[in-house]
């Protein structure tokens, strides 16, 4: 799984991170912040390995 970008998206009511807009294998996807989702688990594995950074949401 080749993840080239990841950015948090916020809930406009609560201002909390709600999903991650990521480019995975060249395709932009919205990944839920939810363990068990294969893409989210891989994003967090790469974040913990220090090979990927999730950019903060734009306000």
């Amino acid at each position: 799984m080749n993840i080239t970008s990841a950015k948090y998206c916020i809930n406009l009511d609560t201002n909390e991170n709600q999903s991650i807009k990521a480019t995975i294998d060249g395709v932009e996807m919205f990944v839920p912040i939810s363990e068990g989702n294969t893409h989210y688990d891989e994003i967090m594995r790469q974040v913990n390995a220090g090979t990927l950074t999730i950019t903060a949401a734009s306000n």
Partner: protein, 384 residues
């Protein structure tokens, strides 16, 4: 106690009556069996833990060179190090052949690319299906008992005569691998492969929606994951030794083909006939892991509600509860004035995604009511 050895028992009257206590050890063959009560060790329905084993459902498309999911549902096709990507497609099973005569009309066919640099150490091509752990935990297989079995069966055909290999992997706890050979296949000849697999004391399958069993058949695996391995028994998973040393004839043959269908994994020590499901039933099972909203039209307008300074379209239920909250992939989105005049390109700023429903938020925050046009397909992915 006495032993009677005969070749044939025939009755003069319509029936031979055995009052009770008839025990047959081993596998018997009966042409027709009429019973008033039948108690099976193998369940009669819903016994195949593999989804889409007959390769009938292909929501993403019928042909793909992707390494991942792209052709028939639930089967992941993976390749690495290839000079030319292989093609994975839903193919027709030729009429008159067996398995065609057994009701199989589709296969997953791999057509090799031209691997001009030969077989590299990290090269591989394989087909896999990952099964939710809860489906094995609740299958009835007493998997920690060596006298309880599951049986794997499938049909396979290769254009190149060669021995291929596969494995079953358990993902929970200490990972365990059961490596097996598909036997020496004759070229262009359908062969049924059957493997009866016992439990073992340290197998673990959690009662959850994460990966439990991984079923995999390899067309080729380079030397960085092959070596000395004892097949047909469970062993602790070693990432560096998953297969015996792999013959590369198929891999180095341009346009070599490999076909797979009729994959069944069931509780019990005997491979029963394949459990054919209706297309509708199989499709619903597949949608737990992937589906897309699509239509024959190129675009579809969706009602979007303006609230609190932003737009949100109504929450939509998935057709089935998905395995996990899915990843959502959109096609183009556009914004259109209520009078229907010109579309402006739009983007999605955020989504909510749950197992049962989803919604999205266009980036536009104007106070002017507008229609948002979501091009199809919109894809929902919660594969393992």
């Amino acid at each position: 106690m006495s032993t009677l050895k005969v070749n044939t028992i025939e009755s003069e009257t319509p029936n031979v009556t055995i009052a009770d206590g008839l025990t047959v050890t081993g596998v018997g063959t009966v042409t027709t069996l009429n019973t008033t009560n039948l108690i099976n060790a193998t369940q009669l329905s819903n016994r195949n833990m593999i989804i889409n084993g007959a390769m009938r459902v292909a929501q993403r498309g019928t042909s793909s060179t992707t390494s991942g999911y792209g052709s028939v549902d639930r089967f992941q096709h993976t390749h690495n190090g290839t000079d030319e990507a292989p093609t994975f497609e839903q193919a027709d099973v030729a009429s008159g052949t067996t398995p065609y005569t057994l009701g199989f009309r589709k296969s997953l066919k791999v057509t090799n690319g031209n691997q001009t640099s030969g077989a590299g150490a990290s090269d591989y091509i394989y087909i896999s299906q990952r099964i939710e752990s809860q489906n094995t935990a609740n299958s009835g297989w007493n998997y920690t008992s060596t006298s309880s079995f599951i049986t794997l069966s499938f049909w396979v055909k290769s254009s190149v005569a060669q021995e291929f290999h596969g494995f079953i992997l358990s993902a929970d706890g200490t990972r365990k691998l059961y490596s097996f050979s598909l036997g020496s296949l004759s070229a262009n000849t359908w062969t049924k492969v059957t493997k009866t697999i016992p439990g073992t004391s340290d197998l673990q399958f959690d009662n959850d929606n994460a990966q439990g069993i991984l079923f995999r058949v390899a067309m080729f695996r380079g030397t960085d994951a092959t070596g000395t391995i004892t097949q047909n028994q469970w062993g602790t998973f070693d990432t560096n030794v998953r297969y015996p040393n792999y013959t590369s004839t198929w891999y180095t043959t341009n346009d070599a083909t490999f076909e797979l269908t009729g994959v069944q994994l069931e509780v019990g020590s005997v491979a029963t006939p394949f459990e054919h499901r209706s297309y509708g039933d199989e499709l619903q099972l597949c949608k737990r892991y992937y589906y897309d909203m699509t239509t024959s039209n190129s675009a579809y307008s969706k009602l979007v509600i303006h609230q609190n300074g932003y737009f949100q379209h109504p929450q939509i239920k998935h057709p089935v509860e998905m395995r996990a909250a899915p990843t959502i992939t959109f096609s183009n989105v556009a914004r259109r004035a209520l009078n229907g005049s010109g579309d402006t390109s739009e983007s999605i700023s955020n989504t909510t995604s749950a197992k049962t429903s989803w919604t999205s938020y266009p980036t536009n925050t104007s106070n002017t009511f507008q229609t948002f046009i979501y091009d199809y397909p919109i894809k929902f992915d919660s594969e393992l």
